[in-house]
Amino acid sequence: MSDAANQITLTIDGVDVKVEAGTTVLQAAERAGIVVPHYCYHPGIPSRPAQCRMCLVEIEGQPKLQPSCVFPAGDGMVVHTASETAETARKSVIEFLLLNHPLDCPICDAAGQCMLQDYAFETGQLRSRYAEAKLVLGRDRVADDILYFGDRCIICTRCVRFMEDIAGDNALVVAQRGHKAYIDTFPGKDLDHAFRGNIVDVCPVGALVHEDFVFKARAWDMDSSAGICPGCSTGCNIDINVKENRIVRTKPRLNPDVNSYWMCDHGRRCLVATNLRERAEAPMIRAAGELEPASWNESIEWVAERLVSGPGVSVVSAGLSNETLFYSHLLLEWLGIAGGAFRVETGEEIELKGFPKLKLRAERAPNGKGAELLGFRRTDSLPEVPDGATLVALGDGLEGAPAEYGANAGFFLYIGSHLPAAAHNATAILPATTVPEMEGTFVNFEGRVQRFHRALRPPGVARPAWMFLSRLLERLGAGQGVLDIRAAFAAMAAETPGLQDLTWGGLGLRGALLNGDGQPAVAAGEGAAWKR
């Protein structure tokens, strides 16, 4: 907040609101809790062409209606957003936009979260006065994975301006003019930017639709939960949309400290892909030569009886939550296995020009920093297993391991959500949940501790690994079993430098920076509601 000299007061629909000089009328109205309908204005896109004419408001002293998205608020200004003149103007804009709109809401994927539908409904024009035949533009493909329905488009140019202002790649243009205008790729250019998926999110109508999502689910069929993208160490805040216990879509969730309104396409894909492959659904123990399913009580008892402190190797994963890594570390300590390590997949780093903090980072795992904080180190390869040694594979998918990996171990404890070929050599398999199936925290590249919520029901009797690891430790006489994520987080925070001042509840939706190493602990409030 700046000093009082910079503050101005204006009246919007009879509500006095105090804002900083330079705020636009639309933002001031938002502050006062008044929504001014708008299409072309998007809070995350800097350019404001004021071309949709939807946000016109009446300002006393001004001869004409003014677009509130660009009109700066002035001291003592009196604004009417819902006066008769403003309402009439808005109605006319909607009527124009609907002239050639196909009104195919029943089959449009945006129905239920469409700004055109909402405002048309609000202005309440049930019948069109337009008797002529509608112009049909059909559909097009603007990118490999993005469809464009020209008829639905209202030419707000949000997508064009996202590519220009934020992505810094002028791949999209408005072709033709007037009622024939449509969005197309620039001649000779392809829309292949790694952040192109955001144009679907900024589209206020159903003109741009991701091909993976087309006709998949209606807006009201989906549950949404606040997650963290596991695609790289940035830790973008995301909304996970779930229908019938399957992830159908991920969308960025506003967090100005991490990813603003955006996320990359790699992130969008990687959670949807967790639906696939063979899952571990029940604990398995090799009691009589073969791996047989067993109950949790039985398996924990069986494993606890056979685990012995002694020579051994381990591999963990940077995709595990902090709580799981904390209890993994305790287990490895009990086993006397020093220096647990994790492998991290790396890839090309890709920047988003308009929001430099957000990158698709080279480290393609969400919690490398957390794993280091909790006492693990990086490695490039799976550890060699000496004959007869104990092998603990925890969360690592054993990619690249030969099929007989671990077969020579004295005791091979496999803890994971999926079952790669080498997992079938295990002495015991304890089924863990994947990230969207549990609650927990990650630490991103800059040391921001962020919480993620559960989006899916786990298959079978798979449980969060921190839960059964703490129980196993209790059975081994080395700790206290916990069933509650708050308790698990508290147990971890009490013993981990950097986390000491943080609480599960205090992390909120925006996360908090680690304390120590020069960074202050930031008290975090609840994140702002997701806005288009």
Partner: protein, 165 residues
Amino acid sequence: MPGDVRFVERPEAESSYVRAISQGLGITVRHFLRPDKPTQQYPDEKWELAPRWRGTHRMAVHEDGRAKCVGCGLCPTVCPVNCIKLIPAEDENGERYAAVYEIDEFRCIFCGFCQEVCPVEAIHLGVHYENAEYTRERWVYDLARLCENDHPVTALWDPADPSSE
């Protein structure tokens, strides 16, 4: 003996059943001699149903036999008993269609909301009630069976006065 049991004597005229029996038989005989016979020789003779009778569903089809359903998902949304299962998909022309469409007629309460909400007038209730089956599974009508049904469709409202109840 616990409690006092009292025996009340009633006059013969009140306690006799002869009068009630003859009254009842009187009704029987009166109906027996009625000139119009209300008994119907079902299934040889069938009831004439009202045009607003709400019975077995029917799916409207295009001329080429495809279902008119566009898979919008409004009927499973509005259905108060969740008896409609719909999985939409994209056909070879890029159009949305119902890849799976099933109605559990056992669970259905024949409220007619699905017909009312349908934006393309595809799903209808029918003026039809004869749907006895040997197994419960047969009561779940799939899309092909709904399209095959050819009984008259229900008029949910009076066409002459559509805004009335």
